[in-house]
Amino acid sequence: MEFLDALLKGMSFDVMMGLLGNGLIMTSKIFIVTLIGSLPLGVVIALARMSKFKPLSWLAQLYISILRGTPLMLQLMAIMFGPYYLFGLQMGPDWKFMACYIGFILNYAAYFAEIYRSGIQSIPQGQYEAASVLGYTRAQTFMKIVLPQVIKRILPAMGNEIITLVKDTSLAFVLGIMEMFTQAKAIAASQVSMLPYVVAALIYWVCCLVIEFILNRVEKKLDYYHD
């Protein structure tokens, strides 16, 4: 490890890894909370977007358009500072974490909603008709007939977004949250070294490899039929 220590000014490699590890925990938190919040919220927005009640559909379209059409970094800042500048509210020191989670969830739900919609609309009308004639209720038709087929169809697109999310978590640095990229930047500055960036890049990549592996397994599992 000594040749690695030599790449840093004073800080040992182990200490650096410890700091990056703390950052990785924060990164993972953002990643997991975002998925837990945005995966179901996306369903709600997709259903609203496809609603026959036009005002609701327009509202969902506007939501999707704004959230996809402005930078996520800007959205994070708007949620972070909006309460103060708009309403004069003093938020506590932990607000930045809440703002981060809310921003990521709202943003990713917009993307997921459009993926869900594309999947749901790609299911042939004949599937609904067959289910209708057999007497399935609307809920049964969706849960048993449509949804399983949708999942298979949208998996590649979902994989794309989920992998993007791994790296997008680094945007939390604008809120001063010490996730892995922020940590790497801080160490790089204090140690005048590129090493933390290299290590951080490797960790991001390994995380994405794990996700790719899992997604491949799921795709294989759903490969027992095609249509």
Partner: protein, 256 residues
């Protein structure tokens, strides 16, 4: 006509300005096989879709046995019964589609039994036994655990027939069941339908297979332009059509 399985009276249906069904009435009695023939766009499919409640009638009335699916309001429009009426009506018929519409993510056996279990609430063991029995009847023993995409079109259509039969319907509708199949696969599907006819299964079949219609159907309707142009005994209409329009249509088919 006390044994009418399905009765449609003065049915009208328009899509925008296009009136697709113009005052159609028909009755199918228990054990009857009714064939519906006619040119594309003549209203055959819409008629079947209205009978199976995939489309709603604008006017007229529809009943299955003693169950009135619709009533007529003061303006003469068809008003459908509540959810329980619709649910009950759907237990009385089955539909076999031109494009099969099997559930691709379910095995063959699950395609046939899933609605039995989760719609009709039949115990799982009984449903599976019934599913296997019907698949055997369709000549599909040994295919239970395959998925539809591993079967030929003819086999898929026979699964679809088994799926419809599983629900024990009073009448079985076929919407051009062999139009997506080559002649060889068509033969095997028609053979199954002939066997059902021999068992006096009540059926309504929209088809372009004239010799099949003549041999299997008791009654035949020729539809064009949203009206029933001619109807009668199947062999009479096909062998000796009365109307010019029917003659012109049938002359496109070689009598075989």
């Amino acid at each position: 006509m006390t044994n009418a399985v399905v009765k449609l009276e003065h049915a009208r249906k328009s899509f925008g300005d296009n009136e697709v069904l113009k005052d159609i009435s028909l009755t199918v009695s228990k054990g009857d096989v009714l064939a519906i023939i006619g040119p594309s766009g003549g209203g055959k499919s819409t008629l079947l879709r209205c009978l199976t409640m995939l489309e709603t009638l604008d006017a007229g009335s529809l009943s299955y046995g003693d169950l009135s699916v619709t009533t007529t309001d003061a303006q003469g429009r068809a008003v459908y019964g509540g959810a329980d009426v619709i649910r009950e009506a759907k237990t009385r018929f089955g539909l076999v589609f031109q494009s099969f519409n099997l559930f691709p993510h379910y095995t063959v056996l699950k395609n046939v039994t899933d609605a039995l279990i989760c719609v009709q609430k039949m115990p799982k063991d009984a449903a599976l036994a019934r599913g296997r029995e019907l698949l055997a009847k369709m000549g599909l023993s040994g295919k239970e655990d395959m998925v539809p995409c591993d079967l030929s079109g003819g086999q898929q259509q026979r699964v679809a027939i088994a799926r419809a039969l599983a629900m024990n319907p009073d009448v079985l509708y076929f919407d051009e069941p062999t139009s997506a199949l080559d002649p060889e696969l068509t033969r095997e599907v028609l053979k199954v339908i002939r066997e059902l006819a021999a068992e006096r299964m009540t059926m309504v079949i929209v088809t372009h297979e004239m010799s099949f219609a003549r041999d299997v159907a008791d009654q035949l309707i020729f539809m064009d332009g949203g009206v029933i142009v001619e109807q009668g005994r199947a062999s009479d209409v096909i062998n000796n059509p009365e109307h010019e329009r029917t003659k012109a249509f049938l002359s496109n088919y070689q009598q075989g």
